[in-house]
């Protein structure tokens, strides 16, 4: 938006932008160069800024050494599961809140809304306990009511009822607790509220059932919003750290972002930074590609969230 001619300021603008882009890109550029070097080259001080020819060797070594195949697969399942789960759960939730009138509607809305204030970081231990035994609360009620003795009396011998169902080290455990999201439900609610009333009236007049209206009219209209959320939630899911760290102990269930730590050279090891950087590049690639190629949806989704 050039209002008047300001050649000096324009020059400064371009200069600052180029410098800014370089500054933002430098850590990645440096990582890419390191990933192409050999151990000898990468531990030279200062490291050469000319790319070497070891890229594929390093990528391969990072892949096998860090068991990235398994971990990327886990990350992919987790990220897609969270994305899909969140979108389905919030679409139905928002549909219920906007298009129906029922007694507990406000209560449901408030309950969903308040989860905004409870990120996993503030309820680490109890959520872990919950996942470790999903029916823990029921067991408590069971014990409190003394139902064991009643059941034993009926059966005629001693019966211990143990409600035990663990989500630890499972895909369900990685995905399920992260699929309820107030932000997604909000976004769909805001969007549904902007849809003209006439559509719903017309559908009702034609005798369409609520679910027909949902599948045939609401869902196609929400395509853009869904696309935007797919990008955001996939990146969110892929980059999860604390929750997978808590709930997985089996190395076969670790996600790539967490597993990457094992490639970091410790002070006693040879400084394998070229391998660590090659691994980092592999793990960051999927979400970066998603963001770059779906940039339009992504920006739209991000900015919509603010409203």
């Amino acid at each position: 938006m050039m209002v008047e001619k300001t050649p000096k300021l324009d020059l400064f603008t371009y200069g600052a932008l180029i410098l800014g882009i370089i500054a933002v890109g430098f850590p990645i550029l440096y990582a890419i160069i390191a990933a192409t070097l050999s151990l000898e080259e990468v531990s030279r001080v200062p490291m050469s800024m000319i790319p070497g020819d070891q890229l594929f060797n390093n990528l391969h070594q990072a892949w096998t050494q860090g068991d990235l195949g398994t971990q990327l697969y886990n990350s992919f399942i987790m990220a897609s599961g969270i994305t899909l789960g969140k979108i389905i759960v919030s679409l139905f939730g928002a549909f219920s809140i906007v298009y129906f009138d029922y007694r507990l509607r406000s209560v449901a809305f408030a309950a969903v809304f308040c989860t905004l204030m409870l990120p996993v970081e503030v309820r680490i231990l109890p959520t872990y306990e919950m996942a470790a035994n999903l029916f823990g609360p029921l067991q408590g009620i069971w014990d409190a009511l003394g139902l064991n003795s009643i059941v034993s009396w009926f059966a005629g011998h001693d019966i211990e009822v143990n409600l035990d169902f663990s989500l630890l080290d499972s895909y369900a455990g990685l995905i399920l607790p992260l699929t309820a999201s107030a932000t997604c439900t909000f976004l769909f609610r805001q969007f549904f509220l902007t849809i003209p009333e006439e559509l719903c009236e017309a559908a009702k007049m034609d005798g369409a059932s609520p679910m027909t209206f949902f599948w045939r009219i609401l869902l196609p209209l929400s395509k853009t919003n869904i696309a935007a959320l797919v990008v955001i939630e996939f990146v969110y899911g892929w980059n999860q750290y604390l929750w997978p760290l808590l709930i997985t102990t089996d190395p076969k269930m670790t996600t790539a972002v967490i597993g990457l730590k094992s490639l970091l050279p410790s002070p006693e090891d040879p400084p394998d930074w070229h391998i660590a950087m090659a691994g980092a590049l592999i793990v960051m690639l999927p979400p970066v590609l998603v963001v770059i190629f779906m940039q339009r949806w992504f920006v739209k989704g991000l900015v919509e969230r603010e409203k």
Binding site: M1, L118, L260, L302
Partner: protein, 297 residues
């Protein structure tokens, strides 16, 4: 609450539709949160063999603990620095990008992608850049500034490292919002001011900046939430709270005391403190959003 003029009538369907969300929310949000609050008033041994109700003892112990007070100070300094660096830089880049309308899409592409990088990976990249023996930035600091640089041993250097890793990751997020905010400002306002003879700098400070204040508020809140909670990955992957607890921010301390140290009462009390904090932030945010309507309307 707003609702549609035209809606469906069904006795069971709406409950069925909202059921998945309510079930997950109750199971993984509310029940654990209540449990957390309850155990913050209890004292128990690591094996769960006995528990005792101790009222506010855990909280009193917490706020008497110099390590916890230090962690609060560390967190405040950390998030303040991250907010300052990433907001200043993000706003600057957005202002520049907004001036050159033609290349905005390309510029945006080149500036946006650190958003997609996990905090932990950002931490690893910066650990390499600032590594005392191999990092190129570290060598620059040692040679040109003459500082004996070592973020693995020096508290302030470690802090600088995690601030850079967090701020770098956040710049692109802030950039996207500032650019959107700038593009939403009516061009006629800028033109009118230019006609009145206001220089580009004056226009920025008297028109653009005040009109950007809702975005500024939102971005600040999001950055603070990020540095309070999501920076966990950076700390865990890179410093583990060290050296000497100098990067032990509150969320990492909750994890360390509760999950590693198995000090349930104290960890729960810390969680409750964090919970109160985020409730406060959310309330402030929504109070402000109400006002924001007048700006954009």
């Amino acid at each position: 609450m707003i609702k549609k003029r035209s809606y469906f009538k069904s006795r069971s369907l709406p409950y069925l539709l909202i059921l998945p969300q309510v079930l997950i929310t109750l199971t993984f949000f509310y029940w654990p949160a209540v449990q957390g609050v309850v155990s913050s008033f209890q004292l128990s041994d690591p094996f769960g063999l006995y528990t005792k109700f101790v009222w506010f003892d855990n909280f009193i112990a917490l706020f008497k603990d110099p390590l916890y007070l230090k962690s609060i100070a560390t967190t405040l300094f950390f998030s303040g620095s991250v907010a300052f660096v990433s907001i200043t830089f993000g706003l600057f880049l957005a202002t520049m990008a907004n001036r050159v309308l033609k290349v905005t899409t390309l510029t945006r592409t080149l500036l946006i992608w650190p958003y997609a990088i996990a905090p932990a990976i950002s931490g690893i990249l910066w650990l390499f850049l600032l590594h005392p023996s191999y990092g190129v930035v570290a060598i620059f600091i040692e040679d040109f500034l003459g500082i004996d640089w070592n973020p693995l041993l020096q508290s302030s250097h470690a802090m600088l490292m995690i601030v850079m890793a967090s701020a770098w990751k956040n710049v692109s997020y802030n950039f996207v919002f500032f650019l959107a905010g700038l593009q939403a400002i009516p061009h006629s306002l800028i033109e009118a001011a230019a006609m009145d003879g206001a220089s580009p700098f004056r226009r920025f400070w008297t028109i653009t900046f005040p009109l950007l204040s809702p975005t500024m508020f939102f971005v600040t809140v999001m950055t603070i939430i990020f540095s309070f909670f999501e920076s966990f990955g950076i700390i865990h992957a890179v410093t583990q709270g060290g050296p000497g607890g100098s990067t032990n921010i509150l969320v990492y301390k909750v994890y360390q005391d509760g999950f590693i140290g198995l000090n349930l009462g104290s960890s729960s009390a810390q969680s409750v403190v964090l919970m109160s904090l985020i409730i406060l932030i959310t309330f402030l945010q929504f109070k402000y959003v109400e006002r924001k309507v007048q700006y954009t309307g």
